[in-house]
């Protein structure tokens, strides 16, 4: 019980922390909206040429674009800019020592903080681009409230996957001291395999199958399909299962690495 309240307080701190930077939030909303408009125009041209590409009609393709923009900072779909740089820096500088003698769990602490951040960015950076998209274009948004709830739950599962992956990125600093290279690589991989460039169902054959099976599809492709009801044979429950399985596996690996790292940890600096 005490632990729950602690992590709730940490999450609240994460929320407030991002809420402090109003300028950054405003700039982010602006960028996401402009990018959304540009990509939407490209998609319109593409879907005019190839209707039903990847099984989406044009309205669905445009919905995917705006969900992508809304999720961009929530799920950290580009080069990540959340807790991982900070955690990696703490490892590099030795500040991690301070975290280790605290009576709480490192992974849970950062997860709570990241969820707090994500909630803020969902509200602060997700809602406006989505609303602009819905005003300017004809989107395939559901009217049933339960679909939106189902979508939010899928977003939550996606966040666990997103956090889990970025936690691994940060932990690499224990071995490499500098995690920024790994973060760059992660960013490029994530951008492509989450479907940010093109929805993953557009890719044919074995490559498409692999892309859709990788954890990054849990960040955007899966939640978007849950929202639009285009999850296919998998259905909503199957989508959840897919996301939860990845989340469990990746968070598990994170725990394992964390144990190894802190056991042989060399806390830097005096």
């Amino acid at each position: 019980m005490g632990q729950v309240r602690l992590y709730a307080a940490v999450a609240a701190g994460g929320f407030r922390r991002y809420a402090t930077y109003r300028g950054a939030t405003f700039a982010g909303v602006f960028t996401n909206t402009v990018f959304g408009l540009i990509i939407a125009c490209t998609y319109i041209a593409l879907w005019d040429e190839r209707p039903h590409l990847g099984g989406y009609d044009q309205a669905q393709a445009l919905t995917f674009v705006w969900v992508g923009q809304a999720m961009f900072s929530v799920m950290m779909l580009g080069v990540p800019s959340g807790f991982e740089a900070e955690l990696a820096e703490r490892i590099r500088s030795g500040d991690i020592g301070v975290d280790l003698y605290r009576p709480c769990d490192l992974q849970a602490w950062w997860l709570a903080q990241d969820l707090g951040r994500a909630v803020f960015q969902l509200l602060g950076r997700g809602v406006v681009p989505m609303a602009v998209g819905a005003l300017v274009f004809r989107l395939a948004l559901p009217t049933e409230p339960w679909r939106w709830l189902a979508f939010l739950f899928s977003v939550l599962l996606g966040l666990l996957v997103s956090f889990g992956l970025r936690y691994l990125v940060a932990l690499s600093a224990f071995w490499l001291l500098d995690a920024s290279g790994v973060a760059q690589m992660y960013g490029i991989t994530a951008t492509f395999f989450c479907g940010m460039l093109l929805p993953l169902n557009v890719f044919p054959g074995a490559f498409g199958d692999v892309a859709r099976a990788l954890p990054w599809s849990a960040l955007l492709q899966v939640p978007a399909d849950v929202l639009m009801g285009t999850a296919g044979g998998r259905g909503v429950l199957g989508s959840y299962l897919f996301q939860a399985a990845w989340a469990a596996a990746i968070l598990g690996v994170g725990r394992l690495l964390q144990t190894v790292a802190t056991r042989r940890v060399v806390v830097q600096g005096g």
Binding site: G2, R5, L6, A9, V10, G13, R16, R17, T20, G94, D95, G97, V98, L100, Y101, R102, P103, C104, R263, V265, V266, V267, G269, G270
Partner: protein, 337 residues
Amino acid sequence: MSDTVVDEAVPGAASAAAFIEVDGVEKVFDVRRKAGFLRRTRHEVRAVDSLSFTVARGEMVGYIGPNGAGKSTTIKMLTGILTPSAGRLRVAGIDPSRQRARLAHRMGVVFGQRTTLWWDLPLIDSYRLMRRMYRIPDGRYAENLARCVELLELGDLLEVPVRQLSLGQRMRGDIAAALLHDPEVLYLDEPTIGLDVVSKVKVRAFLRDLNKERGTTVLLTTHDLTDIEQLCRRVMVIDHGRLVYDGELDGLHDLGGGERTLVVDLERELPPLDVEFARVVRVEGARQWLAFPAGQSAAPLVARIAERYPLADLSVREPDIESVIARMYARDASVAP
């Protein structure tokens, strides 16, 4: 290092109530260095070497030594964030690195160069978090916070984001953060680094109070010897990972081969005085400075001078601790491998 004296006669130190026990502890770092293309050489850095001491509950001990002596490494092992390479280490009967979580609630740590505070949030938010983390009962939290706020003068700072605090303000904030959960033992690694004179006085008074009233055991590392002089009766000196002195602060004077100074005012200007066991180190008009061994009484010296020279006035100056320690560090450096 055969000539080092490890004074065992510290009050309470050897009693059964040893709270911190360090017995033959070593810490060896493996360092890899680039030696040309793709080649790396491995070598060992022995940061702490067969270190043994005990600290009784309620003691306040100064832990000093030159840069790189192994002070921070010792503290990291005591807090459990580093595992010793060899030896036995117990705090309150608990092995810190094995049972870090069990010990966490009972200790407070301040690393002067690091912060436990949340950078982007107001100071008070960090404290609220500590309260949840350490599950501090409401009454206790309110009381401790009020006390810290008053004594460390944090009142105006509570709503300020930590990143906007000055170094000294942040340090005071960090000290408070380490104490909200009533730790039994407090490790301070350079807690007065970067503090101005006024803040230092405040922090020292606060620590003295804490130790006296709450009986908190304190291990204090610092490069400011005034901290030690004002706070600690017992001091441990470490150099190259080894304990080279453990005893009363006063004992350091004798050990460091210290000299006292006799300042004499004569009735008129004279050439440097000639007296046994003392040598003139400075002459300024009618005033002369004579150095003599710290272990020796000044009385016979004064008598002899008064007998032979026109003495107007005199005073005796104790060797200052800084120069004693400086000499000690320098000597150890020349002996070390």
